[in-house]
């Protein structure tokens, strides 16, 4: 525990160093990245070593403001969630070395590093917090620091709006959490987490739902996700990486922790989580498919992956309530592993998108293209990340989903509702997988392959060294997890060993399967190499020509004729139309010799539309009417006082 706090102090010291050296740009970057990363590595070593040799939870507490205690507890779940925090943070920092290059914004960059350090530390505190005061304290610090990170480029209006939206969701979510905790406090009279399970069964569901909404607004469950696709494009890419890769998982952590602490008997909790997960997953990926801004797309893809993780958790919870140990075990373990995997490949993808934005000056798919030849490392690592996030073997994404599938298949032997839910979960996962494939073939195929659609994209070059190194490392990790999944699966098993219901589940049988998966992956890679060699052999001494793409008879192809992201996704979007509304604007042809004609389609978030229509607008309308109260006439002001007297006297 002391090691962990030392690590946090070092991390924060790194942030402080940034402010200290803000005038010396390069020195500042080196100092803060070095120090903070050191802290993260210490923390990472601590959490992995404790996780693998897990004995019992370690606790520590201080008294604060006389009657609060700041209590921390490091159990297996906390340790597991510490791993992505301490893994991604140093990588994101190293990435930022060449990404944050604008010396004019020296001070702002320093502030950015400072809040980065605060964010990392507060996330670590969130997962180790052992009472509600500590938790909300860390939680609010996390929201606040990440807000500042989002508004880094505040000159752009969209970024400000994104920051605003994020701020509101963060605070609204926090209020829901406050309410949930307050209800708990009402029942237990104690701030301590460990007292939660003792409360009566009745309010548990309500508490969970409040907390679920509160945490969900951070995690990005549908329909509380709308800040995500705005905030992620607004933030600098390494910030998007850490937010999407790690911070939103804190919402998952919260949901799971709350579930464990409440230990409610009602099966409804698991069912709610599962169903919400399914909706979030499918709609997330469909929206991702519909978006043309890479970072926005990735943000929606995060929503999708949150859905997958929730499906895993939901499977686990249903397993617990069905007394199906295998289902619970694999559901939870799969969700955990996916948390870890997603943190890596999503960060990788955001970093890739950042490199593209940095060099090709655009993040709109329809303005990119042909980057694979111009930025080969970025392109290849992005490809690896895309395969991984689509859940395809032999990359990491598949392993987590496999565990969830495995758990869900165990649920098929259940009865009635939980059986139907298990089927739906499996089918949903399959559909999500297919759509994710479609979505990421779109990104890779249109942004990195083909011909550049704009001049800027054509002039793009490889991004800086630190950027490439980090991305290569992450891509390799994605492949390693996919090929040698065993240690990572063990890590996730270690993560859930603190859960009473699944404790003691015999995993030997499953480990054999894992071996087989690993072998299959190796065999497959071998087969690909073999066929590749065969192909090479076949091409030996053959004539290799090159020419333009076959235009099916069209003789003057231009780059603008390439398929665009919009048209690629159009049919699929159309299939989900009522949930994914498309706004089309067509200028029409109205002259004999038509001039410039435009066709413009935009996919709008249904949640956003409904918030607008049924929440924001009515509230604003009512408020605008109520503004009459302060009309400036003193006579009526006095009348208010008189009226108040009369009303209160009637109360007597």
């Amino acid at each position: 525990m002391n090691t962990l706090f030392t690590a946090l102090v070092i991390i924060l010291a790194g942030g402080a160093l940034a402010l200290l050296f803000s005038r010396r740009f390069v020195l500042m970057k080196m100092a803060t990245i070095g120090t903070t990363s050191t802290g993260c590595v210490i923390g990472l070593l601590y959490s992995i070593s404790h996780l693998l040799g897990y004995q019992a939870a370690i606790e520590k507490s201080w008294s604060w403001l006389h009657f609060f205690t700041l209590a921390f507890k490091v159990d297996s779940i906390a340790l597991f969630f510490l791993v992505p925090i301490f893994t991604i943070s140093p990588l994101a920092l190293m990435y930022s070395f060449h990404y944050m290059e604008n010396t004019e914004k020296s001070f702002r960059t320093a502030v950015n590093y400072f809040f980065f350090a605060v964010l990392v530390a507060s996330m670590a505190l969130v997962v180790t917090a052992a009472n509600m005061i500590t938790f909300v304290l860390a939680w609010e610090l996390m929201s606040l620091s990440s807000y500042f990170l989002v508004v880094f480029d505040y000159q752009v209006k969209e970024n400000r709006q994104a920051g605003y939206l994020y701020f509101i969701f963060a605070q609204g979510g926090a209020m829901l959490l406050f309410a949930a905790f307050a209800l708990l406090y009402h029942s237990t009279g104690s701030f301590d987490f460990s007292s939660f399970s003792s409360i009566p069964e009745g309010p548990k569901l309500l508490i969970f739902i409040l907390a679920f909404l509160g945490f969900g607004s951070k995690a990005g469950i549908f329909p509380l996700h709308i800040w995500l696709p705005k905030a992620h494009p607004a933030a600098p890419s390494h910030i998007s990486a850490i937010m999407s890769g790690v911070m939103i998982k804190m919402g998952i952590y919260g949901i799971f922790r709350m579930y464990l602490l409440l230990d409610a008997a009602t099966p409804l909790i698991g069912q709610i989580v599962l169903v919400v997960g399914m909706i979030t997953g499918i709609l997330g990926v469909v929206y991702a498919l519909a978006k043309q801004d890479i970072k926005e797309l990735l943000a929606y893809s995060s929503v999708e992956n949150i859905g997958i993780i929730l499906i895993g958790l939901g499977i686990g919870m249903v397993g617990v309530s069905e007394k199906n140990q295998a289902m619970a075990f694999f559901g939870f373990a799969g969700a955990f592993l996916h948390v870890f995997n997603h943190s890596i490949f999503k960060s990788l993808l955001f970093m890739g998108a950042g490199a593209v934005l940095h060099k090709a000056k655009s993040k709109n798919i329809n303005q990119l293209g042909g980057l694979m030849k111009r930025m080969p490392i970025t392109g290849k690592t992005f490809l690896a990340g895309s395969v991984a996030i689509s859940g395809l073997p032999p990359f990491s994404g598949f392993i987590g989903e496999f565990l969830i599938y495995y758990g869900a298949f165990h649920g098929v032997s259940n009865h009635r509702l939980s059986f139907i839910l298990a089927i739906l979960a499996i089918v949903t996962l399959a559909v999500i997988g297919g759509l994710a494939t479609a979505c990421f073939t779109k990104v890779v195929g249109l942004a990195f392959l083909g011909e550049p659609r704009t001049e800027k994209a054509a002039r793009a070059t490889e991004a800086g060294l630190s950027i490439n190194l980090v991305m290569i490392f992450m891509a390799i990790v994605c492949l390693v997890i996919g090929v040698i999944p065993e240690p990572f699966i063990r890590l996730s098993f270690a993560g859930i060993q603190g859960i009473a219901f699944t404790a003691g589940y015999n995993t030997r049988e499953f480990m054999v399967i894992v071996d087989h998966i690993s072998q299959t992956a190796v065999f497959f890679i071998g087969l690909v190499f073999f066929i590749g060699l065969l192909r090479k052999f076949l091409y030996k001494k053959k004539e290799i020509g090159s020419g333009g793409t076959w235009g099916c008879g069209f003789t003057q192809p231009t780059v603008r004729m390439q398929y665009t992201g919009t048209s690629y996704a159009a049919e699929m979007i159309d299939f989900y139309r009522p949930f994914v509304p498309t706004k089309t604007h067509y200028s029409g042809i109205n002259k004999i010799f038509p001039g410039k004609t435009t066709w413009d389609t935009k996919v709008e978030d249904v949640a956003e539309i409904y918030y607008q229509r049924y929440l924001t607008q009515p509230i604003l309308l009512v408020m605008n009417h109520l503004r009459w109260i302060q009309h400036g006439k003193i006579q009526l002001y006095i009348a208010y006082i008189v009226l108040t007297i009369i009303i209160l006297l009637c109360l007597l």
Binding site: F398, G445, H516, T520, R535, T549, W550, M561, Y563
Partner: protein, 305 residues
């Protein structure tokens, strides 16, 4: 040993079978049709050639055929052909295999998009779309099979204590599954009425338009991969209707390939007597098997306690 032999035989015979479809279609058209060995000739011809690569393409374009072919081979490696145990098998292999198939599709689509051709992009988009729908059906089938046999591997589906078989206890359900899987086969392999491999207008194609720019050995690998995939689905269907089971491996094989050939003939028949659907009707067509499978799965809730 039998397994390896069976696998090798299947790979060898793969190019022969699609010719059956062509023959059937020719028969319906009153033509003589190409020789049965036509596809072998094609392969040899393609292997001999060199290639012309578009200047737009990158290494992904060359990877597409390799990965596509490898994934199709993987399917057959794990599938219990002709009553023999597959070369590899483990609990849960179906999941990784169908996902590997997704990987193959991933790279095929990328290879198509790599050419910067609007037509290939169009094909890629359709491929991506229709396969998401087909995938749901496949996993529905897996759920049902798991419910019936309690296993998650191809080998155990057909060899467990309650094997998946039309002659078994749940024949009624399996008929639904059979129809569903048949439609999935047509979809995944781009056959009529989802796609017409013989059409001449690129705008209406799905699979064929994606490989317009491939040539030489690359094209050969793609074709081989496609045939292997078709064989896999046909074999899958065959195992479901595997009414007889002989003790003799050779007899089994003979019977198996007879049924496989029959399925190919039916494909040819379907292609001869139906026209391809309008593109906007295809999703509906692909959703039909999903509905069937889902219905069948729900039924098991009552049937199997």
């Amino acid at each position: 040993m039998e397994s390896i032999f069976s696998f090798c035989f299947a790979v060898l015979i793969t190019p022969l079978l699609p010719a059956v479809i062509q023959k059937t279609k020719a028969f319906f058209a009153g033509k003589q049709g190409p020789p049965l060995l036509i596809n072998y000739f094609t392969l040899i011809k393609l292997f001999k050639k060199g290639s012309v690569y578009s200047t737009s393409t990158s290494f992904v374009f060359q990877m597409g055929p390799v990965v596509g072919c490898a994934t199709s081979l993987m399917m057959l490696l794990f599938f219990p052909l002709a009553g023999a145990a597959p070369i590899f098998s483990f609990h849960g292999d179906v999941l990784i295999l169908f996902y590997l198939m997704g990987l193959g599709r991933f790279f095929t689509i990328l290879a198509a998009l790599d050419t910067a051709s609007p037509f290939e992009g169009m094909g890629a988009a359709r491929e991506a779309f229709f396969s998401t729908l087909a995938e749901a059906t496949v996993f529905g089938i897996l759920v049902l099979f798991y419910r019936l046999s309690g296993s998650l591997s191809f080998a155990e589906f057909f060899s467990s204590t309650s094997p998946i078989n039309l002659s078994g206890a749940h024949a009624a359900l399996l008929i639904l599954v059979f129809i569903a899987l048949y439609i999935v086969m047509l979809t995944e392999n781009s056959r009529v009425p989802v796609d017409d491999p013989a059409t001449h207008l690129e705008l209406t194609m799905i699979h064929e338009v994606m490989i317009l720019d491939h040539s030489g050995p690359d094209l050969a690998l793609i074709e081989l991969g496609a045939w292997l995939k078709l064989l896999f689905y046909a074999a899958f269907l065959t195992r479901i209707v595997d009414l007889f089971h002989f003790q003799n491996f050779w007899l089994n094989s003979l019977y198996f390939y007879a049924v496989v050939t029959f399925i190919y003939v039916t494909i040819g028949t379907v292609e001869s007597i139906t026209a391809r659907l309008k593109m906007n009707m295809v999703p509906k067509f692909i959703l039909t098997p999903f509905a069937l499978v889902f219905f069948a799965t729900i039924l098991t809730m009552e049937l199997i306690k």
